[in-house]
Point group: C2
């Protein structure tokens, strides 16, 4: 990768833009791609992203373009930061310009709706790439805080340890610690599933429950994520890390989290239709919850919290009945489905 | 244990009292012991604990006494709910009255100062008891919320699986889910160490950091707890459960947590002396931090967050230097010291 790698970040939303600043401030040349020319031009000329990250001055080493070829050709690292529903199509535009040894890194937290594929699987299928060239970065990633230089930490996961370490060096900053973990499956699943648990945590907030209830729910939610992840081939310990617990905590406690907020409104007794009509956007967890439950059914894994969230979202179950039903389940060993000895 | 076990709860603080309500509401006869006669009498006559759990009506099946023999003799289950510094002496008073097959359950979250022993180790030493008779209950245990019937969950840990299951049945209530876990070491260590991490989380709050920073710190804090716990013979997965992550979250996010609050004041630049002078009490984490660091040193485990908390508490390190020093450490694999394959 030479001295400092050249980096392309594909997707100029808040997280893509905030993430692009990290290697740029660390001395890498970074090109940020935005689909819309106006946004790319505004970023390039004003050193700000007026739509998604207002108020943050972007570093000198960061340029922007709406031309995929200009962004990607010659880049040592291509970072994908587009929503899951657009990921496949955008990456198909990237592939023709991808260098022969470029790394592809996904920042996207979601599961593809119909295929139930993780984003790194989409990358490998669309780009016909071996697993050692594909990585995922995840963790507690509230974009505004990271762009503001507040200390935080994330994980880079890649099957190829040397590539993971090179990416770690490229992405590490004084305010952004990066840890490596070989478990791509676990790191990606944590990001996709946590939004569903954040909906449940928000429901509890809306019903007026306290920090104990929330902590219990988040912990049992993480056990669901870990059980499913283990069945998919992930390492259960990954879920106790930054891409599991870390991301889940940030999402469930942040007043700004969209998923938690939608849950809170549900917990107050409002319907999904009312909430969507008012906020004019669909939280990622609302999209992911059915996918997660379908994935769990396919693999024979018990995910009671995710299932109950689906029932509240789509089957008219009340939050009160959700809580009663979850609390009355038969008592189980805590580590069931996680620990081979349990 | 017959139909419904007879339960003695030794210690009428807020958590002992709140916990005593759970089996009492489930049909067990429960006796709560308070050291001071006035408190025992007030609880017995008013069905309230005016000092530690005001505003909660205690169930009919709960009686109170200041006489250890009356509380403990004939009890199938003796629950210890006294602070760690008083634990050994109070349990020595309990031992002569302990039935030949009574279970002893510790609710206390701490490490004995000089011996560095966990509470279940103190029980076994003082009572000369085999490990299969000693259990620990831990989890997110904000007393007021549980006494108020808000849904939450905890873990009962015992080396004897059948005894753990019997305790699970005794302690389970519609609002209080109990999971079993054979890992006593892990369950106890999680409760003792989390207060130290809560101090660190509070320091971040006091410095004005956001939810990302907090989630990152809590996650890396849990990795320290898990590394130390594994070295002590615990199961790393326990720390991803209710007695690890669950308790840590509740303590770090609750505005009511004493440890988090002391940390917040430190983060604002105040000294420990000023804070202690004002609050007139010492948070448990302040007591535990040195013990945890000594335990880690003895076992050769790296616990950077706990060490830095000690330096801020006792060596005059500023919170700013603490953050800088923690963020500039060499980057490591995320699961180092946890995963045998890592």
């Amino acid at each position: 990768m030479g001295q400092r790698p050249r980096v392309a970040v594909v997707g100029a939303g808040s997280w893509g833009t905030a993430f692009a600043c990290v290697p740029a401030r660390g001395g890498c040349r970074v090109t940020l791609w935005a689909r819309r020319r106006e946004l790319a031009d505004a970023i390039a000329s004003d050193r700000r992203n007026p739509e998604y990250l207002e108020g943050v001055e972007l570093p000198e080493a960061l340029t922007a373009t709406h031309d995929v070829e200009r962004a990607v050709a010659g880049a040592d690292v291509v970072v994908m930061a587009v929503p899951s529903h657009a990921f496949r199509d955008v990456f198909a535009e990237v592939v023709p310009h991808l260098g022969p040894d470029a790394s592809v890194v996904s920042l996207t937290k979601g599961i593809e709706q119909d295929s139930l594929m993780r984003m790194s699987e989409v990358v490998r299928e669309v780009g016909d790439l071996p697993e050692d060239r594909v990585a995922a970065v995840s963790g507690p990633n509230l974009a505004k805080e990271i762009a503001g230089g507040q200390p935080s930490a994330s994980v880079v996961a890649c099957a190829d340890e040397r590539r993971a370490e090179a990416l770690q060096v490229a992405f590490m900053a004084p305010y952004f610690r990066v840890y490596v973990n070989p478990d791509v499956v676990g790191v990606e699943l944590g990001g996709a599933f946590k939004n569903v648990i954040a909906l449940a945590a928000g429901i509890g907030d809306g019903m007026g429950f306290g920090d104990n209830s929330k902590a219990s729910l988040m912990t049992r939610g993480l056990a669901e994520i870990a059980r499913l992840g283990k069945q998919m081939g992930g390492n259960p310990l990954t879920f106790a890390g930054l891409a599991g617990m870390g991301d889940l905590i940030a999402t469930c406690i942040s007043p700004l989290s969209r998923n938690r907020h939608v849950g809170e409104e549900l917990g107050k007794g409002r319907s999904l239709e009312e909430i969507v009509a008012e906020t004019k956007m669909v939280a990622e967890g609302v999209k992911s919850s059915r996918g997660v439950v379908r994935l769990a059914e396919k693999l024979g894994v018990d995910v009671p919290i995710a299932e109950h969230v689906c029932r509240v979202l789509y089957d008219g179950m009340t939050p009160q009945d959700m809580v009663r039903s979850l609390m009355e389940r038969e008592a189980r060993p805590e580590l069931e489905g996680l620990d081979d000895d349990a």
